[in-house]
C-alpha cells in the first residue's frame, strides 16, 4: 500500500495544507494551482523531516489578494472618503507546532504580523487555544496593537476536509459594497431586514466573512433549478 510509506501525521498535514490553500483561493487570494492539487509524494519531498514528521515551520506562507478581491473589499466611497482603500491586504498563514497555544504564542504571532506589516493573519494550531487566548482574540479586532485585518485561528482538525465541497453546503458568494447597495435598493430593504448568518458559522469562518457583509447563497432547487438567498453577517 502506498499509504504505509508515509507517517500518519504527515498525511494529515498534507490534507490540512491543501485545504488551507483551497481556502485562500476561495477567499480570492492568489494561489498557485499546483499547491492546491499537490500530491502526497511531492508534499513529503518538500516538507517532511528526516523522521517522516511534517516540518510545520516550513509550511508557513503568505498570500496576496487578487484584483477581483481588492475590488470586492473596497468600501463604498463617501463624501469624506472619495477614494477608499481596500480593506484587505497581504495575509500570513502560520502553522503552529506547539502542543498548547496560549496567550504567549498568540501575542508573539500578533507581534510578528505587525513587524512583517501583514494586513491579517491565520494561525493553524494543533489543539484548540486556551480560553484566555480566545478572549484576547475576540477583543483584538478593534485593538490598536493587533493587525488591522484581525487574526483568525483554526484548529487542524477543522481543516482536514474542505467543507465547502460537501454536497449539502450551498455556494456562498460575498457581495461587494456596490452589489450590496444595489441589492438593498432593488428589494427596497434595510440591511437589518435581511436574513442573517453568524460570523461563527463554519462556512462564514472558512470564508473569513466580517460583520456587516452580505453573502449570497445559491442553492439547488427542485422547482426553480437554482435559488438565491441573501444573508447579513452578524
Amino acid at each position: 500500500m502506498e499509504d504505509t510509506k508515509y507517517n500518519n501525521s504527515l498525511i494529515r498535514m498534507w490534507r490540512v495544507w491543501r485545504t488551507t490553500k483551497e481556502m485562500m483561493n476561495e477567499r480570492g487570494y492568489l494561489v498557485v494551482e499546483d499547491d492546491m492539487t499537490i500530491s502526497l509524494e511531492d508534499f513529503a519531498r518538500r516538507y517532511a523531516r528526516e523522521d517522516g514528521e511534517p516540518d510545520r515551520s516550513r509550511l508557513n506562507f503568505s498570500c496576496q489578494p487578487s484584483e477581483e478581491m481588492l475590488v470586492k473589499y473596497t468600501p463604498a466611497p463617501t463624501k469624506k472618503d472619495p477614494n477608499p482603500q481596500p480593506a484587505i491586504g497581504t495575509i500570513w498563514v502560520e502553522f503552529n507546532s506547539d502542543e498548547n497555544v496560549g496567550l504567549k504564542q498568540l501575542r508573539d504571532y500578533m507581534g510578528h504580523l505587525l513587524n512583517g506589516s501583514f494586513y491579517s493573519g491565520i494561525m493553524v494550531t494543533v489543539k484548540p487555544m486556551t480560553g484566555m487566548a480566545i478572549r484576547l482574540l475576540r477583543g483584538a479586532t478593534g485593538m490598536s496593537d493587533g493587525p488591522k485585518g484581525g487574526v483568525e485561528v483554526f484548529v487542524e482538525q477543522d481543516l482536514l476536509v474542505n467543507i465547502t465541497k460537501h454536497e449539502l453546503v450551498p455556494k456562498h458568494v460575498l457581495l461587494s459594497a456596490r452589489e450590496k447597495a444595489q441589492l438593498l435598493e432593488r428589494y427596497r430593504l434595510k440591511e437589518t431586514q435581511l436574513p442573517r448568518i453568524q460570523s461563527t458559522d463554519p462556512v462564514a469562518k472558512f470564508l473569513g466573512l466580517r460583520r456587516g457583509a452580505v453573502v449570497k447563497i445559491i442553492r439547488k432547487s427542485e422547482t426553480a433549478g437554482r435559488y438565491a438567498s441573501y444573508r447579513w453577517v452578524i
Binding site: 496560549g102 501575542r107 484566555m132 477583543g139 434595510k190
Partner: protein, 298 residues
C-alpha cells in the same frame, strides 16, 4: 393642477430616525441599564485579561523567592486577582504552564518535569499507587508552591466581579513567611491597627460620653412634653424583668366544636353556600335523555 393623494397623511415617524424622542422614556432607561451592565462586564473581563497577561511574566525579579516575595510584587498580585473567579485563576495557572513556569504567580522557577514523557504516570500516594495525567504533575515546581497557590485560590469569590455587591472579598491573604514586612507596606492594615490603638485611649472618655447621653435624653423628654416626675413615654420600665410562671391546668384542652349546621359549612365556597336542588337537576337530566331519543329518526 397637481394630483392630490387620497391616502391619509401619516404622522408616525419612520423608525430608526436618529435624534427623535423615544416612544417611551422607560424603554430607553431599561435599554441603557442593560447596556451599562454589559459594558461593565466587558470592562471587568478586559481587566482580568490584562492582569493575567502581566502576571504571566511575574515575578519581576528572576531570583525572587516565593516564600518571601517582595512587598511590591505581593501587593500587585493581591490587587490584580481581586476581580478573579476561581476559573480565571485556573486560566492564569494554565497560561503560566504553557510558558513553562510554575503555576504560582510569585514563583520564578520553571515547572517540575515528570519523570518520563508518557501521558499517564504512576505516583505513590498514601492510598497506594495512583495513575494520573502527566499534565497534573507538571503544574507546580514544588508541593510548597502548590500549597501557596491553592491557598489563594480558595479565597477567591465564585461570583463574577461584575455581579459583586459591597466590598466583600477584597481581603485576600497570601501564605508568606515574611508577613511582617508585607504588612508594613500595606496602608490598609496600618489604618486598622491605628484604629485599635485609638479605641484603647478612648476608654477614659466613655464615662463622659454616657453622662452626655443622659443629659441629651432629658432634653428630649422635655421636648416630648413630659414633666420631670412623670413616667416617661420612652420608658423602658414598662418592660418588667420579673418572670411570671404560667401554671398549667389539669383540664384537658377542649377540641373546637363544629358549628351546628356542619353540612352547610362543608358545602361553602369561600363562605357562600350555594343553594342548589340536586334532585331537581337529576330529574331534568333524565328528561333530556328521553328528549334525545324522541329526536331519533325512525
Amino acid at each position: 393642477m397637481q394630483p392630490k393623494s387620497i391616502l391619509k397623511k401619516t404622522t408616525v415617524p419612520t423608525n430608526g430616525a436618529p435624534g427623535t424622542k423615544p416612544v417611551n422614556q422607560r424603554h430607553l432607561h431599561v435599554a441603557l441599564h442593560h447596556a451599562n451592565l454589559i459594558e461593565q462586564r466587558k470592562r471587568v473581563e478586559a481587566e482580568v485579561l490584562d492582569s493575567i497577561m502581566t502576571l504571566m511574566d511575574y515575578p519581576t525579579a528572576p531570583d525572587a523567592d516565593p516564600k518571601r516575595p517582595t512587598p511590591a510584587d505581593a501587593q500587585f498580585f493581591r490587587d490584580a486577582i481581586i476581580p478573579f473567579q476561581p476559573s480565571d485563576y485556573d486560566a492564569l495557572i494554565e497560561e503560566r504552564n504553557i510558558a513553562d513556569k510554575c503555576g504560582y504567580a510569585l514563583c520564578p522557577r520553571p515547572k517540575k518535569k515528570a519523570r518520563s514523557t508518557a501521558k499517564k504516570q504512576f505516583i505513590d500516594t498514601e492510598y497506594g499507587v495512583e495513575i494520573v495525567d502527566k499534565k497534573v504533575l507538571e503544574v507546580w515546581c514544588s508541593d510548597d508552591c502548590a500549597k501557596r497557590a491553592l491557598y489563594v485560590k480558595v479565597q477567591l469569590d465564585e461570583e463574577p466581579a461584575w455581579m459583586r455587591q459591597g466590598g466583600h472579598g477584597d481581603k485576600l491573604e497570601l501564605m508568606v513567611d515574611n508577613a511582617a514586612d508585607l504588612h508594613k507596606t500595606l496602608p490598609l492594615r496600618l489604618k486598622k491597627e491605628a484604629a485599635v490603638e485609638k479605641s484603647k485611649d478612648d476608654e477614659d472618655d466613655i464615662e463622659d460620653a454616657w453622662a452626655a447621653r443622659d443629659d441629651a435624653m432629658q432634653d428630649l423628654a422635655v421636648e416630648r412634653g413630659e414633666k420631670p416626675d412623670q413616667v416617661s413615654k420612652a420608658n423602658n420600665e414598662l418592660v418588667r424583668d420579673q418572670i411570671t410562671e404560667r401554671t398549667p391546668s389539669d383540664v384537658p384542652p377542649q377540641p373546637p366544636t363544629l358549628p351546628s349546621q356542619s353540612l352547610e359549612h362543608t358545602m361553602a365556597i369561600e363562605g357562600h353556600v350555594p343553594r342548589h336542588d340536586r334532585r331537581a337537576e337529576e330529574d331534568e337530566e333524565e328528561d333530556d335523555l328521553q328528549d334525545w331519543e324522541k329526536h331519533l329518526p325512525g
